[in-house]
């Protein structure tokens, strides 16, 4: 189990603060680092991967500071943002070279396994200069996986991928997470993070704005009303019951049946709804939060 711990980390360049007093713990599973461009995501990943020193605070992997500590790379796999530049090597040669640099016992076998994981076997004997962008990204992933690292850091891995490659990468990242690895990737695209990450860290303008499961974050913001879609077998009667309760602020009858309910006190609502339905003998068919997607969380955080 590998944990990256950032403790009050800040990074500034003369009078520009890129990262401002960030503390977080990244544990096993897939964590998404989310934020608009310029929020400091790349800076954060650079610090976590030992390629940038924090101006203040500490970045540690299992208690050991990452800066200037080459041996930690045994456990860390990094997929950088820029394209792989060893253009005149074949994909296979590139991954094997990376395996050799890790001083693995059997570099070729490890390389073959990694290439199989990213499904690049058919193209492994072609030069990297002939690869498409998605293929280059995958071969970079193979080179980062070849030493079976406990920690995987990816900087904007979905950049420039077409939908099919994206699905493939999502599946791969989920698998890595399920194997107990600590996977952290950055993105500014909400759908990607939503589909892969079990845990998100949100960065806005260098500050650590929120962390956790996005539904949970949403619920933390109790000053903004939640919205639910409720389908029952008697909408109008439930509507009149709900509006009588203090936890609801508004109820709208939808034209294609169902109720749009605006809730101001989620805790109370969660208790009250089944009670009301039960006492009025109304069957609840569907209760669905309508705005718990990352989009609304993100938009709310960013506009705050």
């Amino acid at each position: 189990m590998s944990e990256i711990v950032l403790d009050q980390v800040s990074r500034w360049y003369s009078n520009v603060v890129a990262v401002n007093d960030v503390s977080m713990t990244i544990g096993p599973g897939v964590t998404g680092l989310l934020g608009p461009n310029g929020a400091g995501k790349s800076t954060l990943i650079a610090m976590m991967s030992g390629f940038l020193a924090p101006s203040s605070g500490t970045v540690t992997l299992d208690g050991i500071p990452v800066w200037r500590h080459e041996q930690l790379y045994r456990q860390i796999g990094l997929v950088p943002e820029r394209e792989a530049a060893y253009d005149n090597l074949t994909g296979g040669q590139f991954v094997v070279a990376n395996a050799e640099l890790h001083a693995l016992a059997d570099p070729i076998a490890a390389a073959m396994t990694a290439i199989a994981t990213v499904e690049m076997q058919p193209a492994q004997d072609r030069k990297i200069s002939t690869y498409s962008k998605g293929m280059k990204q995958r071969i970079k992933m193979a080179s980062a996986l070849v030493h079976d690292p406990a920690v995987l850091l990816l900087d904007e891995p979905f950049n420039g991928m077409d939908p099919r490659q994206r699905l493939h990468l999502i599946e791969l990242l989920r698998r890595m997470g399920n194997e107990g690895r600590t996977v952290m990737f950055s993105s500014h695209i909400l759908e990607e993070v939503e589909q892969v990450a079990s845990h998100i860290e949100v960065m806005v303008a260098g500050r650590h704005a929120a962390s956790g499961d996005f539904g949970a974050i949403r619920r933390l913001m109790t000053d903004r009303p939640n919205r639910y879609l409720i389908r029952t077998d008697d909408d109008r009667r439930l509507a009149s019951q709900l509006i009588g309760d203090a936890s609801c602020r508004g109820v709208i009858m939808r034209s294609d049946d169902g109720l749009d309910v605006e809730v101001v006190d989620f805790g109370r609502f969660a208790v009250v709804l089944p009670q009301l339905a039960h006492s009025a003998e109304i069957r609840l068919l569907e209760v669905k939060p309508t705005d718990e997607s990352l989009e609304s969380v993100f938009a709310y955080l960013v506009s705050a």
């Binding site: 009303p225 508004g250 709208i252 034209s255 749009d260």
Partner: protein, 300 residues
């Protein structure tokens, strides 16, 4: 915030949001060429770019002017119709290191940059032919060099006039030297442009150009020195062909009858003609290779 009722599905419509065709006057390729050329000349001196790109060329220009200013200052103070301390034609050879550094750094700035960032396709998406683009860049580089080599000569000229020497002979000398400076600028620009166009890495282009200029001059100077000592003026003369600075000096000697700044000028009128022909050949070959290289890059 109130809940909005769910809106009805909108009909899909394509709006004409106003992509307008331009129906006015179009200024034609000559205008494009001129703009590109002017921009190129300004970029030679970092004008129109960030401050850090102005430092080196301006510094080099200043250093280039210093000897001229010093000489003028002395002439004005002494106020004597002194014989020209430094013949105009010698100025460029003496300052060749500065000129070499200038062209080595600015040629890649004009040429390698567009290649590295693949801007060529953007340029050619305009009504601009490839050849026109190349000539514009080349002319801009040559003009930048001409400013560098010609300005000190003007300063010297003014100084000599002020200290009262005869305008007629000074003017002819100056015009001859300016002609020489022009030829030097064209030759250097052609060579530097070709070298820059072969690589996208600015650093490598700079090293290659400087290497070419310094090595060629050192080799030629060595041979000339040795041959001259042995009294072998023919060899010494012809050796001057193989470095741009000495080549142009030789041309000035034969065309404008100036004093040679090398151990030996081109032997006789035949030698002079050969020098001129060689210079023309270099420029034509370089431009040809440059065009060929660009056509390859642009995929035509």
């Amino acid at each position: 915030m109130a809940i909005q009722p769910e809106p009805e599905a909108r009909r899909s419509v394509i709006h004409d949001i106003g992509y307008r065709k331009y129906d006015g006057i179009r200024l034609g390729e000559a205008y494009t060429w001129r703009t590109l050329y002017e921009l190129g000349v300004k970029h030679c001196y970092g004008i129109g770019r960030a401050a850090r790109f102005k430092v080196l060329p301006m510094m080099l220009l200043t250093i280039m002017m210093i000897p001229a200013l010093v000489i003028v200052g002395v002439q004005v103070i002494v106020s004597d119709v002194a014989a020209q301390v430094l013949p105009y034609s010698r100025y460029s050879i003496i300052m060749q290191l500065i000129i070499s550094v200038f062209v080595a750094v600015q040629a890649p700035a004009l040429i390698s940059r567009d290649l590295r960032y693949r801007l060529l396709t953007l340029y050619l998406a305009r009504p601009l032919r490839l050849d026109t683009y190349v000539y514009a860049r080349l002319a801009a580089l040559a003009t930048g060099l001409f400013i560098l080599t010609g300005l000190p000569l003007l300063v010297l000229y003014v100084g000599t006039l002020l200290s009262g020497s005869s305008p007629a002979s000074e003017t002819t000398d100056l015009l001859g030297a300016l002609g020489g400076a022009a030829i030097l600028s064209i030759v250097l620009a052609s060579i530097a442009a070709v070298v820059s166009a072969t690589t996208t890495r600015r650093g490598f282009a700079i090293a290659a150009i400087i290497t070419t200029l310094i090595v060629s001059y050192t080799v030629v100077a060595t041979i000339q020195g040795i041959a001259d000592e042995r009294g072998n003026t023919e060899v010494a003369g012809y050796a001057g062909m193989f470095s741009p600075f000495t080549l142009v000096d030789g041309i000035q000697v034969s065309l404008f009858n100036t004093e040679a700044s090398t151990p030996a000028g081109p032997p006789g009128t035949v030698g002079g003609l050969i020098f001129i022909a060689f210079a023309i050949l270099i420029v034509l070959v370089c431009v040809g290779v440059l065009l060929w290289r660009y056509r390859k890059v642009a995929g035509r």
